[in-house]
Symmetry: C2
Subunit: 248 residues, 2 copies
């Protein structure tokens, strides 16, 4: 996988490239790898709000400013985390382009499920593209080309594919307010339970089924209440719809 990192020119500049450690088993000190690893551990065990450079330093047992020797900025840490989380989601080549795409979408979602709190960072920050995986892009383009999309269509369909891959999962694992989580859950449950069946009859009829399992009407995110059937329905619709487009 060729990942072109823009970290140096983009997310901040490192003062010097730290010297690589010798192979012998000295005290490890701090390394970039250790920083990223600790960052992932921190974001996994707490949440996105608690993910700060200062808490990261606490986790590592160093002063906050020590981190900046190994990593140029907070955005760089985020970039590195993302490319680590999303590494290896590109499926094996396959004849059926629809199946290949669905597998890509599922692999993305599975990768996020392992580190759900990272999800909000990807869909929402253009910086998340700072480490561009050209191999992934080429694989998608190859699949779409084989399927029959070309020229201007290739761009439009590519954008549709990326939106499909990222969009559902980003929302599924969106941030839950930390402090007021309990109050909020209670309030939302109350809303769902007391839907007026003359004003909103269809919703009232389906309220039990929708509670905490529908976007907008849930009080937990995908880490606790996964939206499997919605996801499968969504990606199936997209690939079916793209097939319809091909036949026109």
């Amino acid at each position: 996988m060729e990942v072109v990192s823009l970290s140096h020119s983009v997310v901040g500049r490192q003062r010097r490239t730290p010297k690589k450690r010798k192979g012998n088993s000295e005290t490890p000190g701090l390394t970039k790898e250790a920083v990223i690893e600790a960052a992932l551990k921190l974001i996994d065990t707490t949440d996105l709000e608690s993910f700060s450079m200062r808490n990261l330093a606490k986790e590592l047992g160093v002063y906050p400013t020590a981190i900046y020797w190994h990593v140029p900025s907070r955005n760089a840490v985020i970039t590195e985390m993302i490319s680590r989380v999303l590494g290896g989601i590109v499926p094996e080549e396959q004849d059926d382009w629809k199946e290949w795409l669905k597998q890509l979408f599922r692999n993305y979602r599975q990768a996020i499920r392992v580190h759900p709190n990272v999800a909000p960072l990807i869909g929402v920050q253009l910086v998340s593209n700072a480490s561009v995986d050209l191999d992934m892009i080429e694989s998608i383009l190859r699949t779409l080309s084989k399927a029959g999309f070309a020229d201007d269509d290739l761009l439009a369909v590519f954008n549709a594919v990326i939106a499909t891959m990222v969009g559902f999962t980003t929302q599924e694992f969106s941030m839950v307010p930390k402090e007021e989580a309990d109050d909020w859950a209670a309030a939302m449950q109350n809303v769902v339970a007391s839907v007026d069946d003359t004003r909103h009859p269809i919703l009232a009829r389906n309220a039990g089924n929708f509670a905490n399992k529908a976007f907008i009407l849930r009080w937990q995110n995908g880490a606790f209440s996964p939206l499997d059937s919605g996801f499968e329905t969504f990606i199936q619709a997209v690939v079916d719809g793209l097939e319809v487009r091909l036949s026109q």
Copy 2:
């Protein structure tokens, strides 16, 4: 439009309900409406990073803490802004359910285009649901029911619809790093310009077309580089795919 606000129970508690002003033209003072309006103006003219309670206070010419008399928390401001931005996106009823859905998606995107910096807040924070628009939900469910979706399918398709509505646009208008925007644009342009055409031939062939117009390979967001064709392709594919599902 019945918007159920969870602000009181969820996003913080107000100390007292401020008394409504009399009709005569006294000095206006501060009101909740003025706070939300200034918040939108601030987020529109600057960006999401600059949107802080303290900057909001500066904009209003008051001390930061004065805001808290009218609004319980930052999350409440966000909630109010979102429901203001997304007010009135539900289309008129219509026979063709596919057209109705597409119109909903387009209305959502148009609403976001007026206040692009609000976009990241919606897709990514569960708090964004704090003001639940039950009328919108019922309208979607009515349309889907008329189309023929029922029972468990209704939930899955509803989730697919919300993901479609929010997902593409959230990414299209994702946050651009403020400080290093120029450096980053240059670096990304360089990546796109120097794609190796033996390793990534299809991308190399399409690089000119993809530069700043494809997800992952752009350095500006939808406010400067809108992805119209991708969006239309995406929503058309979704509704076509849902129609395929109906016919099975």
